[in-house]
Structure formats: C-alpha cells, structure tokens
Chain length 248, copies 2
C-alpha cells in the first residue's frame, strides 16, 4: 500500500487567477450553473474566482475547514482518503465538469478528502455564500447538485466493481481504460499517473503496479508517444479483461 511520505506543496498563490466569467464559460454546458440564466451572475457579493494549479498542488486538505466548493474546468484531480496508519487510498478521479467539496453542503464544516491536482488544473472556487445566494434565486440549482452527486456515486460503484475486483493485471487494465475516458483521450492517448497513484487507485502495491505496466509495455498494449504520454491499445486491453473474466 502506498505510503504518504510525500509532502504536497500547498498552492496558496496559484499561477493564474482572476474573476471568473461564468456567462462566457467555454464549457458552461457541463458546469454546475449550466441551467441558470446568464444574468444570474451579476451582483454577486462574493466573486467566483478562476484559478490555475500545477500538477501536484494540494487544492484542499482532509479535515480542513472549508468555505468553498470547487468546480473543475480542466485537468485531473484525485480525491484521497488518509488512513490512521499513514497509508492512503484514492477514491475518485475527477476531471472537467466535476464539482468537489460538495460535502460542505451537508451541514459539515470540513472537507472529507484531500484533493490534489494530477495535471495542470483550471478550476473555479465558489464560496458557499455565493452558492446560497444563487440558490435562493434559482432553486433548480439543487437538481444540478443532485446530478453531480449521482455521478460521483456512479463512479464509485464502478470503482469498486471494476477497479477493485479481480487480479492486478485486470485492475490496471480497467484503470487505463478509465483514464482514457476521463481524459477524453484523443485517439486513446493518455497521460499516465505515477505507480504510487495507480496502486492507491486499485488497491495493490506500487511494485505490482510497475510490474504490470512494464509487462503491458513489452506486450505492446502501451506505446510511448511523447515523454509524458502513451497510446493505449484499448481493444486489446478490453480483450485481456474479458479473458481474465472467462477464466474465473
């Protein structure tokens, strides 16, 4: 199991930031406020801030008292649970369109996970007060929140079923296909995550993850494209998964 030896740098001063322009948001149709009329964002007491973070940045920390919900515009974010003994487990990977920190709406004051950027990430920080403000004028916003939660439930169900069941080879294969979908992978080209992160996703050790990935490379299921990206042989990966399943 992965050790939490890493000290994630807390990005207090993000590389890029500014007041968000929700009305002209490029991916507005996938975002939390997609159902709201364009003029809803005038006169907000607290502005919605648009920020950019580098890979590795800590967006918020488990148990930290929070006052903002984060809407991801671009890039991949991991939600991590820390256990008593220092090991950590990744319970979700979320990309553009996802909203994290929604547990704050549940009367609680603290975030329930640590959220860490796995790639360069663009996001909007939405203060709870702003959300309450918008909500009072647009109750239908609640439906969007419900959809967000339902998506997270769905992802976690898949997490258990596909990524945390079966042999290591199968799990890693499923994880690669998952990454490909999350990345909206052009032509099956994805950015791999670290072996530690793979291990924390599928519940094996980093050594086993490394062995499996190395084997996949040798078998031509993974092709080096650029220093940081790989192309997946998605069809063959799917066959491999089906094969393991049949064997039982």
């Amino acid at each position: 199991m992965a050790e939490s030896s890493t000290n994630y740098s807390y990005c207090v001063d993000p590389a890029w930031q500014g007041r968000a322009d929700c009305a002209n948001c490029v991916i507005r149709n996938m975002m939390l406020f997609s159902e709201l009329p364009l003029n809803s964002f005038d006169n907000l007491l607290q502005p919605i801030v648009h920020e950019r973070y580098d890979a590795g940045a800590l967006l918020y920390h488990q148990c930290e008292v929070g006052t903002e919900v984060l809407s991801i515009r671009r890039g991949l974010v991991k939600l991590v649970l820390l256990s008593a003994d220092g090991s950590e487990r990744i319970v979700r990977l979320l990309g553009g369109g996802a909203v994290i920190g929604l547990e704050l709406l549940d009367k609680s004051t603290a975030y329930r996970h640590s959220a860490i950027a796995l790639q360069e990430v663009d996001l909007c920080r939405i203060p709870l007060t702003t959300l309450a403000n918008l909500y009072s004028r647009h109750p239908e916003l609640c439906k969007s929140v419900g959809l967000q939660l339902q998506h997270q439930v769905d992802q976690t169900d898949r997490w258990i079923m596909q990524l945390n069941t079966g042999k290591a080879r199968t799990r890693i294969a499923e994880m690669l296909l998952f990454l490909e979908e999350a990345n909206a992978g052009q032509d099956g080209v994805i950015e791999l995550i670290s072996r530690d992160d793979m291990a924390a996703v599928v519940g094996i050790t980093k050594e086993t993850a490394s062995r499996v990935i190395a084997e996949f490379k040798r078998q031509g299921l993974l092709h080096h494209v650029t220093p940081s990206t790989y192309r997946l042989e998605t069809q063959r990966l799917r066959e491999l998964i089906a094969q393991e399943a049949k064997h039982g």
Copy 2:
C-alpha cells in the same frame, strides 16, 4: 469471487402491504419527507405503498425499468452489481432511513443495481409521479434527496477505504463493525450475513471469509447468542484492526 448461482425469488405479492400513513410514520424524522408539513400527503394521485418482504426477496433488478423509489423503514438491504462473467459485488448495505433507486431521478429509466433484502424488510414504494408532485409544492425536498446521495457517497468512500483495503482478517473485522452500526446493534448483537455476501462485500472468496469468521469465533471475538444472532467483541475487533495497521 461469489457466483450468481442463486435465483432470487421475485416478491410480486409481498407478505404485508397497505397504503402508507406518512403523517404518522414512526421514523418520520429519518425519512425522505421529514421536512415536509404533515398535510402534504393528502390528495396524492398515486398512493405511497407500504410493503413487507422476507429475507432474500428481490426488491428490484439491475437494468429493470423502474418507476418507483424505495424508502427503507426497517431491515437491511444489499445493492448488488452483476459483472459480465456472472460474479457479483455488493456495493452498499442500507438500512432504515435510506432511500434506494434514486438514480431514476437522473433522467435514466433503469435501476443500476439489484436490491435484495437481507432481513425482513419494511419499505415504502414512492412512485416518481408522486415524488414530482410533492416536489413541485415543496422544492426543499431536493435538499433531502441531496442528503441521501451524500450519505451514499460517504458510505461508498468508507467501503473502499475500510472494507476493501488490507488483509482479509482486517476487512472482515471492519465489516462486522459496519454491520453493528447499520443494525443499530443492541449491545453489539448483530445478525450475520451469509459467507457469500461477506465475500461479495469485502472482495475475497467465501472460503476465506468462512475461515476468518471461524477463527474469530474460536478467539472469542464472536459469541453465539441465538440461532441467528451473535454478539461482537467490538473493542477487541478494533484492537485487531489497529494491530494489523501498525504492522504495515
């Protein structure tokens, strides 16, 4: 992994049923409609039906087209995902106060799991039309739905972290503690689930589950109380879990 050799009997004609009396519901304060005024339930076009099922009854089936959300009043229900190869995985255990089938609100037509009673279960079937009806008059109902979803997210996170991580002994111990909480166990007395179900919960084989439970009995962590119930030594179980963690 557990095989889906069992054919669950579809309980079309439940043992006990009648129109629900929501205004006088004994556990109204934990239910979906707890925030609604008492007179909201008059003039409903479609009645909310109260039903009772035996252990083993199939409440609904994965992929079945559904028109009702189920509010559990009493008893334990498992949500099961079936994989391509016939193996199954339990992704949630829900008791009184939980609402299942909420994925139907998400524009989808089919249930995403199979729901099966693990004990005698009392529940209310709430037609989607009734829910829409109530919702139009009481938008605050949306908040209750959000809470339900958030609870399910929280349970699934714990599921991955505690019940699907570590050695078999640890997982089973965590599962027993989970059952104890779900049962609101009097004095730590719980009704055990089958070894197959345990296996499908924590992701091991039924044989390993059996070995661990047998060992726990021998070590006095589990005491026979009645033919169907056992008392847990919760404190010692917690110590066992902490022990395994330290060893790492």
